[in-house]
Amino acid sequence: MSLVINQSPVERLTAHFEQELPSLYGDAALRREAMATLREKGIPDRKWEDYKYINPAALFKQPHVAQARVGLEIKPEAVTLMVLQPGSALAVVVNGELREDLSKLDRLPAGVRVKSIADAVVSDAVAREYYNAVNGTSADPFVLWNNALNKGGVFIHVDKNVQSEVGIHVLHISTNEVAAVSHPRNLFVIERDAQIEIVESFETLGPVKTFTNALTEVVVHQNAIVDHYRMQLEGQVGHQMNTVNAVTQKGSNYRTYTFTLDGAWVRNNLNIRFSESHAEAHLFGLTMLNGQRVADHHTIVDHAIPNCMSNELYKGVLDDKSLGVFNGKIFVRRDAQKTNAYQTNRNILLSDDAQINTKPQLEIYADDVKCSHGTSTGRMDEDALFYLRARGIGEAAARKLLVRAFAEEVVTNVPNDAIRAYVENRLDHFFN
């Protein structure tokens, strides 16, 4: 193969795509269409309003190497160390492909199915029905990129009326010998009156830079209850784009918890759409940043239908030279009357070199609504610090205590004891 020196990132991406296409599962036409749209829209840079504060262009310039050829071998012991909750079922996804040999799925009750999405879109009618259905006509470049090149991921299906006591832990591991991109693709379909807890965690193994472009579609049917955790724990080499597109039906309750505790570069696009009335969504987020790390949270709650409720609370602690972004959009469409939508974003800057850019955004087209957002950013409360020190607590300990208290408002909303304990433990070690 001849090497063209002056190939643009888009051209290289296209060449890579053509090379990979024959080995990819599913509908080739869909993949081609996604690739064509991506080519047409171009690669996002700072001029794109949605990517204003972080420059994602470099991610597209990564060498495009076939994942299967570069993955490192993973030992079961390494996986054990990454388990967050010993009692739950475990699905291990390595570089975007489900590894059944490393997974433990036999604990699942009847009516809960976890399988590779690459198989499911062939054999499972539900997976075929919903694959790419929630994305709709999304023109986000990362969605398109995933659509074009994903090699698989996890399909979770919970039958109606099944309230699973056993949670599912989806462990995503990125590990490479050379820098490369992986595109985990998940689809969660929770049928009516069902309940499930899904914990996704993201880790890296090895010293080589990774980029994970994860895309998850979630369908929450009538009266179903879903707790969806995203534990972003990738190390200093981990770069992550994480898109969740969720649609919820009548009377359902979809709760998301996003903990961005590690990783060099993290961008989350969390998009929730109410398609039927009387549904609820709760979005909680806690971001702890230090070093030169970057975390960018974009959330969209789309009140397309009357009588829905959304509540969002995102908090950030930023130290050293870190950069934080929060962009929360509440969209209330025409006729979505009796909407209640609340959003709060609070941040603490611990260092002179840290930066936070926040944009809590409301777009409202209906009049009988109650919407509010609030954001505040500041340094640590000096009065509180003084109060603690006056009572004999050392400065370092007092600061730690105050950061812990600041984060607690989010952590306290976590119903899962194991996750809460894990996050609290990470908080205690944040300053070390």
């Binding site: 955004q361 777009e363 409202i364 009049d367 609504v369 109650k370 609030g374 954001t375 505040s376 950013t377």
Partner: protein, 486 residues
């Protein structure tokens, strides 16, 4: 209340109260924009070489820019910049010294607008004083109170006059706050600006009266590109009013103004606007495109710039009066009421750029949307690195009247210093049924109750306006929202 009903009735009868065309001979530049036109304008105004150079540089830069259409929450047909006449001057150029010499047609126009120059003149020596720099289609016709101001050393004149008489001041400050490279419309304005107001308050002088400019777009197919420059020297104070009305026109008219304010040490500038240009008819036909760049700089310590605006007119509003807080301990304020009705669209807000230490800013924005309109608040608060102990408080409330309108909030908050404290709150709601019920119960009918509630909702902002303006603003609010509640 009787008075208000009368206003409403007049409003219904006339659709747009200020929709008339005064019959004054005007001199046009040919339609279109090129270097020749820029030279023509400059030559017409007998400008010095450096200003022509500045215009040409701005024009060349403008040609490399594209219309900012992707980020504002606005939908409109692009402006055909070649289909606009960039210069329209009343032929009988005002070189008058007394009112008797002013074109009687012009005086009638002002009377219709409700500011009678005679009235103003009569007020000399009385307590309430407003100096008016009347601008009709880009050329400042008559500056009143000039002598009174001159005694204090205050320069208040048309921009062209300032270019001739105070070139050193114009050269020093023009473009220092809004450079022509700033944005598309600022570049356009720098290239083709026709006239505007210039104001200089010398050291330690407190301007004894409120200064006022009345802008008015009169001729069909002309854009208006005024340029205002206000300089408050050390320890000076001035309160400046700007009010706008325009006659009814079918095709959209472009208005791209630039306002620059410079506040030196301990100086304070208060700038108030009531904007009531023709918003287009009920179906969104016609109306003014209002693309304005307004910015002030608190150049030195302890200075203060305060913007107050009541925006009820224009089909499209694109306007972000901003303050650069460069001096330590400087203060920036932004108080805004933006009302949109029928098919109007507004994307307005402010920018507070904190550079100096202990700088403070306050943003109070009240949006009211009715009919099928869209009303957006877009604001930026930036705390730069090194801006120690900067403080901002923002509050953006939206009120929706009817289920066909939109209210949007786009606050950008960028904090690069840990000592900065920024708070932002926003709420969106409609007028509570319980509030109306309460009024009804006490014998106040729904229409009046709404007037009452809206005025109460905007009170924080209206209180900031000088008295003369506050009265007009309150009337405007009632008139603008007439018929919007079923």
């Amino acid at each position: 209340m009787e008075e208000k009903n009368q206003i409403l009735e007049e409003h219904i009868a006339s659709e747009y109260k200020y929709g008339f065309v005064s019959d004054i001979d005007t001199e046009f530049a040919p339609k279109g924009l090129n270097e020749e036109i820029v030279k023509f304008i400059s030559q017409k105004k007998n400008e010095p070489e450096w200003l022509l150079e500045y215009r040409l540089k701005a024009f060349r830069h403008w040609q490399t820019m594209t219309e900012p259409k992707h980020w504002p929450h606005l939908h409109y047909n692009s402006v055909d910049f070649q289909d606009i006449s960039y210069y329209a001057a009343p032929k009988k150029k005002a070189t008058v010294n007394s009112f008797d010499e002013v074109d009687p047609e012009l005086l009638k126009t002002f009377e219709k607008l409700g500011i009678s120059l005679e009235e103003q003149k009569r007020l000399v020596g009385m307590e309430s004083k407003i100096a008016v720099d009347a601008v009709i289609d880009s050329v400042s016709v008559k500056t009143t109170f000039k002598e009174v101001l001159a005694e204090k050393g205050i320069v208040f004149c048309s921009f062209s006059e300032a270019v001739q008489e105070h070139p050193e001041l114009v050269k020093k400050y023009m473009g220092s706050v809004v450079p022509f490279t700033d944005n598309f419309y600022a570049a356009l304005n720098a290239a083709v600006f026709s006239d505007g107001s210039f104001c200089y308050i010398p050291k330690g002088v407190r301007c004894p009266m409120e200064l006022s400019t009345y802008f008015r777009i009169n001729s069909a197919g002309t854009g208006q590109f005024e340029r205002t420059l206000i300089i408050a020297d050390e320890g000076a104070y001035v309160s400046y009013l700007e009010g706008c009305t325009a006659p009814q026109r079918d095709e959209n008219q472009l208005h791209a103004a630039v306002v620059e304010i410079v506040a030196h040490r301990d100086a304070e500038v208060k700038y108030s606007t009531v904007q009531n240009w023709y918003p287009g008819d009920k179906d969104g036909k016609g109306g003014i495109y209002n693309f304005v760049t307004k910015r002030g700089i608190c150049l030195e310590a302890n200075s203060k710039i305060s913007w107050t605006q009541v925006e009820t007119g224009s089909a499209i509003t694109w306007k972000y009066p901003s303050v650069i807080l460069k001096g330590d301990n400087s203060i920036g304020e932004f108080y805004s009421v933006a009302v949109t009705n029928n098919m109007q669209q507004a994307d307005t807000g402010t920018k507070m750029i904190h550079l100096g230490k202990n700088t403070r800013s306050t943003i109070i924005s009240k949006g009211i949307s009715a009919g099928k309109s869209d009303n957006s608040y877009r604001g930026l608060v930036r705390i730069a690195k090194g801006a120690k102990n900067a403080r901002n408080f923002s509050q953006c409330d939206s009120l929706l009247m009817g289920d066909q309108c939109g209210a949007h909030t786009f606050p950008y908050i960028e904090i690069h210093d840990k000592t900065g404290v920024v708070e932002h709150e926003a709420t969106t709601s409609k007028i509570g049924e319980d509030q109306i019920f309460y009024c009804n119960q006490r014998g106040i009918d729904t229409e009046k109750a709404i007037g009452l509630i809206v005025n109460g909702y905007c009170r924080e902002v209206l209180d900031q306006l000088p008295m003369e303006f506050a009265v007009e603003a309150k009337k405007l609010l009632s008139v603008s929202l007439e018929g919007s509640v079923g």
